[in-house]
Symmetry: D2
Subunit: 90 residues, 4 copies
């Protein structure tokens, strides 16, 4: 295998392989840090909104609904109502 060879199996643990592994891990760690920073930002927006009197749970529901495909949502709604009907919940 030309290009690479992994840190695996019976292969000698070459310095190159080590560096490649290290590089992978560090790339992921950097990306996860960025991801965490954004998660924190999202949390902050919700917290701030709550401070301004908004209902966080409802906000989350809105965000979730807007993400869904309108068709799928309608279809799910129909089934749900059928079941609720059958159970006397409507």
């Amino acid at each position: 295998m030309a290009t690479t060879a992994a840190v695996r199996d019976d292969e000698p643990a070459t310095k190159f392989a080590k560096d490649q592994l290290k590089s992978i891990i560090e790339r992921i760690e950097r990306l996860e840090e960025e991801k965490k920073a954004i998660s924190d930002d999202i949390r902050d927006v919700y917290a701030e909104s709550k401070g301004n009197g908004y209902d966080v749970k409802a906000l989350r529901t809105i965000v979730r609904m807007r993400k869904q495909d309108p068709n799928e949502r309608a279809e799910a709604e129909t089934i749900l109502e059928t079941y609720m009907q059958a159970l006397g919940m409507l």
Copy 2:
């Protein structure tokens, strides 16, 4: 309430309140898009690594371990060892 008033309670649904709500939702949606982009990047790194012969599960374990170690280890370790000792797990 001085500054604004939310879309809530018995308050008239002012255009201002609507705009504020819309703004909150859109900020969150923008952040979630960024977050998703990064999640995809992370996924890509794993997929590419797998293509180069790495064991993805092990990579994930490494990442997790490096994240957890600095935080807790030393603290819990002591009590834990006492208990493990008592249970013959050591």
Copy 3:
């Protein structure tokens, strides 16, 4: 500390303490086994229902809804609709 003393701190690791610790762990493990068995049963019911043509997601929603307090549910619904209204989703 009347009755016993735990496996902790500077106390000598008495045989009694060991046995008590072991007993606690085993009680929990037994309970967790039972709990897992029930979780599996629930999973089975859903799987079987799916095989009979039911929509599992909708079934889960029904179960969740029936668990909720009707008043709270109604209230949450109201807020949600206010927000949806303000965002032109209704």
Copy 4:
């Protein structure tokens, strides 16, 4: 439609279908009650242990470890150690 037919599609909502749906929901609800009862028991054991001076967090860790060990350890361990070796974590 020999055996049953679910509360679904264009089918007339027969009493039978309703009963079957109701039966499914109630079976799940009963199982979830049992499950909750056991969860509560587990909680009680931890609470009682805490009252006797045990460190709950450590107890949970022990339980978790004893659960995981037999399953995976040996398998993942090998690859993992190779990687950790390469990263200077060992």
